[in-house]
Each structure stands twice: as C-alpha cells, then as structure tokens.
C-alpha cells in the first residue's frame, strides 16, 4: 500500500493535461462549435421574446419567426430566387469585366516600370474615390440601363483586384528571378512559370476581395436605380411597408455573400495547393 501513497508521476501528468484543456486558450473542437452557436442563439431568443412581449414594433423590426415565414413565402412564390438570379447575373458580367481589366492592367503595371510610373498618379488620384460617388455619374452617362449596374460592379471590383495583382507581381522574390536568369529562361517563360505562379496567392486575394465588393456594388446600384434584383426588393418592400420582406432581402445578401466567399476559399485551396499558408488557415 505504501506504493500508492508514494509520489506517482503518471497521475501528476494526467492532472497537468486536464488543467491545460480547461483554459480558454485550449478549447476543444466541441467547445468551440458550442460557443459559436451559443452567441447567435442567445441573440435570436432575446430578439424573439422582445417582439412577442411587444417591446419591438413589427413595423420597425419583425420577429425572427415572421422573417422566416416571409422567407418561405418568397421562396415558394419564386420571387426571391428571381431577384437573386437577376442580381447574380449582373455580378457575373460586371465581375468578369472588372477582373479582366484588373488582372491585365495589374500584370502590365507590375512588369513594366514605364507603365507603372506613367499610371501611378492617375491610380492614386482615382483609387480613393468611393464607388458610390460614381453612381450618379454613371447614371448620367448610361441612363438606368443594365449597363449602368454592370459598369458600377465592374468599377467596384476593379480596384481591389488591380492593386492586389500589382502587389503580387511586384513582390516576386528576386531569388526566384535569379534562378530563371541562370537557367536562361525567356521573359515570357519567366512570366508564365515564375512570376505568375508566385503572384497567384495575391491575385486570389484580389479576386476574393473583388467579389465581395461586386456583391456590395450590385445592391447599391439596385437600391438606387433598378426595378429588379435583390437591392430593388429591399427598397421596394420598404416603400410597401413590408419589413419582413425587407429583412429577407437583407439577410439573403449575407447568406449568398458567405456562400460566394466559401466557394472562393475552396477554389483557392484547390489551385494553390502548394501554399502552406492557405492550408494552415483552414
């Protein structure tokens, strides 16, 4: 029996691991999932009870259940997907344009010093102007046509894409370029096999920020000048005094934005398998 009373190292080790697990910094997987759900759940319950108890007027903020019901109604009637579809199609066009010009110009500026110097003043002058300042200008030029919305989106996502592509190309490690030089690679081969792959993570960051921007721009454009799309649904339901529909519009923007971001992350992990940094973030 004296053995049990004596200092038992195994028990001590067990105690240490146990205390380590209980600290905030060492959450187990289950704990972190549980906490992630807990906060939204408390918010929802508080909100719902405030509505039921009459603290919140349904015309100002409808209850979560009312919004869910409106969601169901709009999905069944097909109205929600019709508006979402219109918005997404606009994004597709605008984003394609913005990404095309952003990537092309970004590569040219990143590679050619002369273009970089020549464009630097113009870029630093135009870049800080928020997209919303351009909306009236674009409406003046193009009317309230489809092309207006597409242009607004294209312009909105152009800047983050351009800047990230530029930075990615400019910051290629000189050591890699020396390897290409020693192996007598042509400028074209160096661009395709060294510069572009090394800039790919940056380019992807630009594309991801750009798609977020495009999604913001389509809503802004539709709220201001449109008779369709998810932004129109929001502003129209405000005029019609249908706050539940309005919130359906607002929240579906959040949901779609989240899905798009996830898709981009997956694409990034697929195309940039070699990048150890993107893998760790998962």
């Amino acid at each position: 029996m004296s053995l049990i009373n004596s200092y038992n190292p195994i028990i001590v080790i067990k105690n240490i691991t146990k205390t380590a697990k209980n600290t905030i910094f060492n959450l187990s997987w289950l704990d972190s999932v549980y906490l992630k759900i807990l906060v939204p759940a408390i918010l929802l319950v508080t909100w719902e009870s405030a509505c039921r108890l009459g603290y919140l007027k349904p015309l100002i903020l409808p209850s979560p259940t009312a919004i869910v019901q409106a969601f169901e109604r709009l999905i069944k009637s097909g109205e929600l997907f019709r508006h979402l579809g219109i918005s997404l199609f606009r994004i597709l066009q605008g984003y394609a344009l913005g990404a095309f010009f952003g990537i092309t110009l970004g590569i040219l500026i990143g590679i050619f010093k002369r273009i970089d110097q020549g464009s630097s003043v113009v870029i630093s002058f135009l870049r800080p102007i928020p997209i919303f300042a351009w909306i009236p200008v674009i409406i003046l030029w193009l009317g309230i046509d489809e092309s207006t919305k597409v242009t607004i989106i294209a312009l909105g996502c152009f800047w983050p894409i351009l800047l990230n592509v530029m930075a990615g190309i400019k910051h290629v490690d000189k050591k890699y370029l020396e390897v290409a030089r020693i192996l007598e690679k042509s400028p074209y081969q160096t661009l395709v096999k060294v510069i572009l792959p090394s800039a790919l993570p940056s380019i992807f960051t630009g594309l991801r920020v750009g798609i977020g921007m495009a999604w913001m721009c389509v809503v802004a454009a539709e709220v201001i000048a449109s008779t369709s799309g998810i932004g129109f649904l929001i502003s129209y339901s405000r005029e019609m005094l249908q706050p539940d529909v309005m919130f359906v519009g607002v929240f579906s923007i959040g949901i779609v934005g989240l899905i798009i971001d996830r898709i981009f992350k997956l694409l990034e992990m697929h195309f940039i398998k070699w990048n150890v940094n993107t893998k760790r973030k998962r």
Binding site: I182, K193, P197
Partner: protein, 260 residues
C-alpha cells in the same frame, strides 16, 4: 556530353557603389581551373567569394578583367555554367520533378526525353520516390538535392555552388558532402564551391583557394593531394587545415584552436 573547358580568371576587379564611397569587392583576382577539377574557395564573410561566383555565372556584370570559359569571355548567364545557392530556391508551386524539369532548356527535345533526363537526375541525387513531393514536404537536405539536380540537368561545363550545405544541420551536411562527391564523380563536371567550412573544403576539393577580405584577394592556393574518400582524422588533413587557418587569421595574429 560536351568536352569540359578551362575556366580562366585574370585580373578580375569589381567595385560596388555604396553611399559612403566605393567598395572594392574583388581586387586583381586571377585563377585558372582545369577541366573536371574540384576547387573550393574559403574565406571570412565579406571577402567577395560569393561575388566572385555571381560574376562567373553572369548574374552580375560590370567588372574589369577577364573571365573566360574555353577561351571565350563570358557574357551574362549561360546554361553551361550552373549554380546552386545556399537556399535551395525551389519553386514552391512545382513538385520536385517539375522543379528539376524547370532547369531544362526546352529546345528540340521530346517530352519523353525530358522525362528520362529528369528521372535520371532524380535517381542521381537519390530522391526516387519523392518526385511528386512539393518542396515544403521535403527536408532541407532533400530540397538541396533537388536544387543540385536542377543545376545538373543541362550537363553544365562548370557547376558553381554558393555555400550549398551552409544552411543544413551538421549531420546532414556531412552526409551531403559525401553524396556530392559521389554525384561529382558520376557527372565529371568542373566544380567551384564556395564555403566557410574549412573541413568541407578540404574534404571535397582538389585545391582550396583561401581568400582574404577588404579588398577581396586570393591569398593562397593549397593543393590537397590525398586520395578520396579522405580521412578527416588523418595527419595530412590536419596539416592542411592548420595551414588554411593560419592563412585565414594571419592578420589577427591569433592562434586558433583547431580540433584534430
């Protein structure tokens, strides 16, 4: 394979323009390396040994004097002069075999031939089974093996190495030195290796060039006559080591402890 050629360096001078005046990196450096010879350059840091390599491979121009390979003055980089850096400098987006294939100059060889050459070099550096691995999945020593293979795929006349094993741990370094000897004996190319490891220089090279700094000059060239593989504990090895250390620290009047 082409016939190996002599590397001739004559009265080489190189100055860098710095803010506080010019830095004389190399002064009147003359050195002739015979075809197939293995030469090591040792020197304290800042003695211009890396600069010398960069000039020979053509990464830097703007020097006075002659650098001739096979009687022709060198002009810019050439696949005939390969280089291995201290960091493996592998492209992280390419697998080991793709990195090696990147070294190939793609004029008129078929895909099949390319594949054969790459496979042959993977086997040469003992990396069979790791062809599809990405650089971040390889250890430091393995990465350096890929880097050596990439420099060798074009069968360069001259292979230069700039402290290639300097970033590896001591045990891997010893292993890589032996491996490199084997590779050199198979490939039979002329090798110029820059190192700060005196042991490494003596273990590998036919001749050891000792450089002194400010300005970078060759202070002594020591012939290593022992046959390979060399015994690091032999008397001859220790004598050469002593001679090199004496040369390296002659200005400091220091008696350095060298372990035999």
């Amino acid at each position: 394979m082409e016939v190996l050629e002599t590397l001739l360096i004559k009265n080489l001078n190189k100055t860098y323009k710095a803010e506080n005046g010019d830095v004389h990196a190399l002064k009147d450096v003359s050195l002739t390396i015979q075809p197939g010879e293995f030469v090591s350059i040792v020197g304290t840091s800042g003695c211009g040994k890396s600069t010398l390599l960069r000039l020979i491979v053509g990464l830097e121009n703007d020097f006075t004097g002659e650098i001739k390979l096979g009687g022709k003055q060198i002009q810019g980089p050439d696949i005939n002069r390969g280089m291995v850096f201290q960091e493996a400098r592998l492209f992280p987006w390419l697998t080991a075999e793709e990195n090696i294939a990147f070294g190939l100059v793609d004029n008129h060889i078929s895909k099949k031939e390319k594949k054969e050459i790459v496979n042959k070099h993977i086997a040469l550096v003992n990396l069979t089974g790791f062809a599809k691995s990405y650089p971040h999945q390889l250890s430091g020593g393995m990465q350096q093996r890929v880097s050596i293979a990439r420099a060798l795929v074009n069968y360069p006349n001259l292979l230069t190495l700039d402290e290639p094993f300097g970033a590896l741990d001591a045990l891997t370094r010893l292993q890589m030195q032996q491996e490199f000897l084997r590779i050199w004996e198979t490939e039979k190319t002329t090798v110029l290796l820059v190192t700060h490891d005196v042991d490494e220089a003596i273990f590998l090279a036919d001749r050891v060039v000792v450089m002194s700094s400010r300005p970078g000059t060759i202070s002594k060239i020591i012939k290593v006559n022992a046959s390979r593989p060399r015994d690091r504990n032999s008397c001859a090895f220790a004598d050469i080591k002593k001679e090199i250390y004496k040369e390296l620290f002659k200005e400091d009047n220091l008696l350095i402890d060298y372990i035999i």
